[in-house]
Amino acid sequence: MRVLQDAWAYLTTAGSWTGDGGMLELLLQQLLLTVTALGLAAALGLPVALWLGHLGRGGFLAINISNIGRAVPTFALLALLVTADAWGWTQGWFPGVREAGPYGRAGLATLVALTLFALPPIITNAYVAVREVPADVRQAADGMGMTGLQKFRRVELPLATPLVVSGLRLALVQVWATATIAALVAGPGLGRVITDGFVRNQYGQGIAGAVVVAVVALLLELVAALAQRLATPPGSPGARPTGRPRRSGGAPASVAAPTVSS
């Protein structure tokens, strides 16, 4: 159990938190990466998924995107993106391992991977959320003379919000995990503390990094759960304390089960 003492010593040394490449800097870097990627994925995925849900088309697409996303290892995709900078036909425009401002080494490649991995839960949940608005509610909206757009904005969107938010919450946890893995390809973020520790046989440091990553992950999950509860009006079908999407015969298993894969 020497390593545990080492880990504690590393955590309680001020020097390992502050300074250039200290844990505090890496932590902020990883948070920045996570927030940016989640924002990008939401901006890309939500409009498409919500609108497809409104039209009632493309369900096959939504489910398949989520299944494929699960089968491709995060690590492999990151590795491919990072190595891809010298691809002949991109003439070296793809940044690969290059520094990307506040996002650090291989920042852009990491951002691309994080965004890709945030898309499946966001798309699947948003699509299913709109699809699951009860048919009689839709009919009532039609009966009141609402146009398609009005129905979408005033009826479907409010009712879908709880499930959409739960998709964002899944994506947040997923992106944080993936951002940690970026360190396996010498990318940015707190994972660096872990991989550096293991490469240099300083397992105490590796374990200390793991503790910080895990604690932040749990905190993010708690904050997201709180946000989800705020977004869910009491008494609505999505209001369940566990934050799980509501159970229904039509919901695919991929939504009922947590979709994190890292």
Binding site: L80, T195, G209
Partner: protein
């Protein structure tokens, strides 16, 4: 000049056919010659990948079933079990493995336990949802026919819960195949070891071959599970066909 000399040294085995497609100079993404030359290495990595994945999913399966049954018997435990397993699931894999190292060292056991914990989360939920999907009338009829709680669970509830459980098992298996690669942190990552080496040495053929094999492996295992499900639940076949 030194570069050229190094390149020449690398292509010695295939001197007559020009530089091999995985030599330092060409470094192609797709290179069949790499696959044939390093066959044993690739097979070893794939075998390791498969056994780590299968061991982790089986362990998850064996632990999740009693947990799910326990959670059903004691509803107060259900929220605790779900909260703890969700908590574990929230921890990124790259952080979970180091946390196990003080107890299991740098061994394949570390990877198997870590992955089993992730599979556990999915499977406990799948078992609970599956058992919940059994209609109450069915349960009452079975009780009326004289089934005790144990036989009711094994002979009636479990078979009827199987489609939902298998759906969870498929999710767990496919994501475990992908996650096994992270085991390369402790040098037991199956194909992940090849990916790691490919990144470190900028060896594209190795990297892409391993990545493609991972996806193929996930698809093969998924197809096997679907086939198993069809065999195990013959009553659903007529409905779907």
């Amino acid at each position: 000049m030194t570069l050229l000399v190094q390149a020449a040294a690398l292509v010695v085995p295939t001197a007559d056919a020009g530089p091999s497609c995985y030599s330092r100079l060409t470094n192609e993404w797709f290179c069949w010659q790499y696959v044939t030359d390093r066959q044993s290495e690739i097979v070893d990595a794939t075998v390791e990948h498969v056994w780590i994945t299968v061991a982790a999913v089986l362990a998850g399966l064996l632990i999740s079933f009693p947990l799910a049954v326990l959670a059903r018997r004691l509803p107060r435990l259900e929220s605790t079990i779900l909260a703890v397993s969700t908590g574990i699931y929230t921890v990124p894999s790259l952080a979970l493995l180091p946390l196990l190292v003080p107890f299991t060292g740098l061994s394949p056991t570390t990877v198997v336990i870590g992955l089993a914990l992730y599979a556990l989360t999915i499977l406990v939920r799948a078992f609970l949802e599956g058992l919940r999907s059994v209609p109450d009338e069915v349960r009452e009829s079975a009780t009326g026919l004289g089934y005790g709680p144990g036989r009711l669970l094994l002979r009636v509830e479990l078979p009827l819960a199987l489609p939902v459980v298998m759906a969870g098992l498929r999710v767990a298996t496919v994501s475990t195949v992908a996650l096994t690669t992270v085991g390369s942190l402790v040098s037991y990552g199956g194909l992940g070891n090849l990916i790691k080496d490919g990144v470190l040495t900028d060896f594209r053929a190795e990297l892409l071959t391993a990545a493609v094999l991972c996806v193929v492996l996930a698809i093969v295992l998924d197809v096997l599970l679907v086939a198993t499900q069809r065999v195990l639940t013959p009553w659903t076949r007529g409905v779907r066909a």
